[in-house]
Amino acid sequence: MELFQWGTNPWGQETLIRVSWDLLYLFFWAGIAFIVFHVVYAAVWLPKLARANGGQEEAAAAAGIPETIERHTLWARIFHWVMAASMLVLLVTGFFPIIGVQFAWVTIHWIAGIVLTISILYHIVHATFYLDFWSIWILPDDMDEAVQRVKRQMGQEASEIKKHGKYPLDHKLFHTAVMLAGLAVIGTGLVMMFRIENALVPRNAYLLSEPTWGLMYTLHGLGAVLFVMLTLTHIYFAIRPDKFWLTKSMLFGSVERERYLDHHDPDRWVVNKESASKS
């Protein structure tokens, strides 16, 4: 298997062109393998970790936690679904021609890319100034808990695991991966606009040096093949019954108090009346 695709420049010198599309298949099957693994893992291990949460309801009600709690604002949800749609379009337009489904994809691809870019820009501003910025980032506590969690699962002595805040570590990890891959494809994708006809920038294939272009295509490809796996696994989790309450929250915005109490630490995701769903 090749990691990179090399070509020759007009002078016959070897030059990096892009990632090898072998990686597309690799990441696709890696995603599938992860899903299969997780299905088994979830079936065998998760029941063992289940805990009762009885008796919390009243206390929670007393603490002023509303019955439904807004988890994603309307704007955040719009952002998410716009991003999801553009991402799916980008994946389909980017990869279907490679796997043999031919159609005129370039224009759709770059327009979807621009939509994605705009939505990401919105997200960055929105998350920075209007949301609990730090809620999605991996913090030292997360790491510590992760260690404890693994210890527990291995059957070793470990301290009590606290419930997570608004986002559990796996969400945070996923977000980080998406962010890195996303920045790579968006950053390189914007530069690659100079190599195609589009309404925004004039074509200039010699904007960058030849090795730099090779790097752009390679990074774009790496991000893109990573997204194949990320998207697969993301969809998988979204449709898992035990996670479906989260998917619903992305559709409708809120979670029930019960779920909140089940999964979240009220100290770490502070909820009050103002957070209650408007619905």
Binding site: N9, P10, W11, G12, Q13, Y206
Partner: protein, 808 residues
């Protein structure tokens, strides 16, 4: 015209039967026992250095017999080329050669060579090399100043002008001359045209590539190559191979075209010779068309500023030229200088200043191409003179006539403060004759006629070029079987001058051509020192030398007869293959009998005693022939009277479709002043063939290169476009005429005709296109193609490139 029996008559040349039956052997037609095939590894970059070279995998391949690298060649002194190099200066320059049992293996071996190049800065357009900080094509400089490589940058000129297609004045140049006072000349002028002009580089593309086959036998190298000249190739080729000329047997009876690119064959021919020595087997190196495009030579492009001052009667009073020649990477060709000389001759300005230089570029090597500089002169300046005629409201043929030289006119770069003169010039007579014969008034009447979107244009242009030098040797043997063997060291590249000029000897002997046998093309057959077959040298030079040999033979025949029959030599006549007493034809000897007698007499008669003044090569050949009959060697010592020049005036009729830009040539006629015509059929072939080559210059033969990578993109005939038969007028036979004025400094009045026709064709077509578009159009460059015409006719279209752009 004098009353000749052979000169001026059509006849069958001695090579044509072999040609028309396929028996004529060109270099690639020879085979030798155990012959290997060579393939070249050529540079993929315009300028680079070989950083690492590993031929072990190639050498290990079964069937690979020898590899020749640049390191094994004697070093060439800059700016000359070596044939193989480790620092390629243009795309396609050979790096190494591999000989293998067959071409397939050689090709695969080339692909197995591990080679790593370090790209170096390159330049395609001379102007880019003159810019301050601009790249140089060579690491040792970008031009030749005198005999030295040096670097010149134009830091004082306005480069924004160049970007707008204006050639700047005042940049430093390496060559400069002036006659009269140009400023005073322009002060006198009633009309001044000051324009930037460009004539593009174009490759020769002879149909036979410079394929060569060589082998060694008993220490001698046998070389089959393609060359225009035989005698003048021997020494250079021997030097290239590194052997004494006497150890070289050069066989080149047929040459599939050269147009100046094979005057003395090509340096790449040394490759099979050296490979053959290394491998111990014969080696055939088939040069591909694409390789020919790379190292087969090309006419240098010239970017120029031309300022012409005219009097109201059309007389050119002053010319001021600034020229930059695209020199390619090697050598020191001076097309721009002969370009100035021809302008000086054709337009006879009283005041003229010339400033010029050649700038090296990483494009294929340049060389002389049929009227080097002369064609560029016509392509660049004929449209200016044509335009002046329009602006001064003069007849366009008249303005040519007005300025054309007459008699022994002075022209060109002055030496010791004085211009030299032309030996004879009768272009005015040629024009006067053509005006009637070609019905110039009728042609003019068709100018501007419209047929829908198609407009007829009529163009006329004069072209001049050198037509011969002198001082070479004639060598003939009258054999005991009565045949006259005329040996000639000029080549046979299709002009047939090797044969046509041999007829001078038979004319001198007043003997039928059937009794002649021309010996040519193989140095083992003992050839005399001859003119280079290039620059139209042969016709003038070899009618002189063969006439000299013929006269000398006649004298010896008379002496032999006097010796046999008594009396003075003067009382004998020579004619019809016999020498006989005047008034008593009974006292006669046949050539055969005289030859027998010559052998008996020895000394000056059988070649054992030779003239002192002949060339060493002639002496060697004549000595080898000694004893075979009456052996006569003679040097051309006839008087010379200036530089020998011939003239052509082309008349073209085109139809330009203003909706598609398509140009169709409807007719082409050519008038000439080229002295006595030796062989009318061949003469017509030269004037028309040259003219149509000029159409290629005018209409589309060119290089296209990618500026980012410095690589050719139009390497194929379908993309670099030599003219096809349908691009030439083909509905009626083309007319030609001659002034029929013999050159006073040739015993038969002959001048060369190879060169001048090209410019005439190019200039006439350029002017005709301009005429069709209403005159006063400023293409200011050649070639003109349909896209340029459409762009000019539709001002809303963006101009694709400025006037001075090269290789677009």
């Amino acid at each position: 015209m004098a009353d000749y029996k052979l000169i001026g008559k059509n006849y069958t040349t001695p090579d044509i039967l072999a040609k028309v039956t396929g028996r004529a052997k060109y270099a690639e037609d020879f085979r030798a026992e155990g012959m290997l095939f060579a393939k070249l590894l050529v540079s993929p970059m315009p300028h680079a250095r070989v950083r690492r070279l590993d031929t072990s995998a190639a050498m290990a391949m079964p069937g690979v017999e020898a590899i020749l690298t640049a390191d094994e060649l004697p070093e060439a002194e800059a700016p000359q080329e070596a044939g193989l190099t480790n620092e390629p200066l243009y795309e396609g320059e050979p790096i190494l050669a591999i000989a293998a049992v067959d071409e397939e293996t050689a090709a695969e071996a080339i692909e197995a060579v591990q080679i790593d190049f370090e790209p170096l800065p390159f330049v395609l357009d001379p102007m880019d090399s003159l810019r301050p900080g601009g790249p140089n094509a060579r690491l040792d400089g970008n031009t030749m100043a005198g005999r030295d490589l040096s670097t010149i940058k134009w830091d004082s000129v306005d480069w924004s002008e160049v970007d707008r297609g204006i050639m700047p004045l005042g940049g430093e140049v390496t060559d400069e001359w002036q006659v009269g006072d140009v400023e005073a000349g322009f002060a006198e002028a009633d009309l001044i045209l000051d324009e930037s002009v460009f004539s593009a580089s174009l490759s020769h593309q002879p149909l036979e590539t410079r394929t060569a086959m060589a082998y060694w036998q008993n220490g001698k190298c046998f070389m089959h190559c393609s060359t225009q000249s035989t005698a003048r190739t021997e020494g250079g080729m021997a030097r290239w191979i590194g052997i004494d000329p006497t150890d070289l047997v050069l066989i080149a009876e047929y040459c599939g075209g050269g147009f100046g690119s094979k005057i003395s064959s090509s340096i790449q021919a040394r490759i099979p010779a050296l490979l053959s020595r290394k491998a111990g087997k014969p080696v055939m190196m088939r040069v591909t068309r694409q390789e020919e495009n790379f190292f087969g030579r090309a006419r240098p492009g010239i970017q120029a500023r031309a300022k012409f001052g005219f009097k109201s009667d059309g007389r050119v009073v002053a010319i001021d030229l600034t020229m930059v020649q695209d020199g390619g990477p090697y050598g020191r060709s001076g097309d721009y200088m002969s370009c100035a000389d021809q302008a000086s001759l054709m337009y006879q300005p009283e005041h003229m200043r010339v400033r010029g230089m050649t700038v090296y570029t990483n494009t294929p090597p340049r060389g002389a191409q049929r009227a080097p500089g002369g064609v560029q002169a016509v392509a660049m300046f004929a449209p200016i003179v044509d335009k002046a005629a329009r602006q001064l409201d003069l007849d366009r043929l008249d303005i040519i006539h007005t300025n054309a030289p007459q008699g022994q006119a002075l022209f060109g770069r002055p030496r010791q403060g004085r211009q030299g003169n032309v030996s004879s010039a009768f272009p005015k007579e040629a024009i006067d004759k053509a005006r009637e014969e070609f019905d110039w008034e009728g042609m003019k009447a068709r100018s501007g006629q419209r047929n829908g979107s198609k407009v007829t244009g009529v163009g006329v242009a004069i072209s001049s070029y050198s037509a011969g030098t002198s001082g070479v040797d004639g060598l003939l043997v009258i054999r005991p079987d009565g045949m006259v063997e005329i040996h000639t060291g000029v080549g046979n590249l299709g002009t047939e001058s090797f044969s046509d000029t041999s007829r001078a000897a038979m004319e001198a002997l007043d003997t039928p051509w059937e009794q002649a046998e021309v010996v040519w093309g193989d140095t083992s057959k003992h050839l005399p020192w001859s003119a280079i077959q290039g620059g139209s040298q042969t016709t003038h030079g070899h009618t002189r030398s063969n006439w000299a040999a013929g006269l000398e033979a006649k004298k010896r025949l008379q002496e032999i007869a006097a010796d046999r029959f008594g009396g003075s030599a003067d009382s004998f006549e020579v004619g019809n293959g016999r020498v006989f007493r005047r008034g008593n034809r009974g006292q006669a000897m046949t050539f055969g009998q005289a030859a027998e007698r010559a052998i008996q007499l020895g000394g000056v008669y059988d070649g054992s005693q030779l003239p002192e003044d002949i060339n060493e090569m002639t002496t060697r050949s004549a000595t080898a022939l000694a004893g075979r009959g009456l052996v006569v060697a003679a040097k051309d010592n006839f008087e010379t009277g200036g530089r020998n020049m011939s003239f052509c005036i082309g008349f073209a009729e085109v139809e330009v479709d203003t909706e598609t830009g398509a140009v169709v040539l409807k007719d082409y006629k050519v008038a000439s002043d080229a002295g006595t015509v030796l062989h009318p059929q061949n003469f017509a072939g030269q004037v028309h063939g040259g003219g149509i080559q000029g159409f290629g210059v005018a209409l589309g033969q060119k290089w296209v290169m990618d500026p980012q990578w410095g690589l050719h993109v139009a390497k194929r005939f379908y993309s670099n476009r030599p003219p096809t038969i349908l691009d030439a007028p083909h509905d009626q036979e083309l007319a030609w005429s001659v002034a029929d004025e013999p050159d006073p400094f040739n015993p038969l009045g002959a001048k060369g005709i190879g060169e001048a026709p090209v410019g005439a064709g190019a200039g006439a077509v350029l002017n005709a296109i301009s005429d069709a578009l209403g005159g006063n159009v400023d293409f200011n460059r050649s070639p003109i193609m349909g896209d340029m015409i459409l762009t000019m006719l539709n001002p809303e279209l963006d101009e694709a490139h400025n006037k001075l752009s090269t290789h677009v």
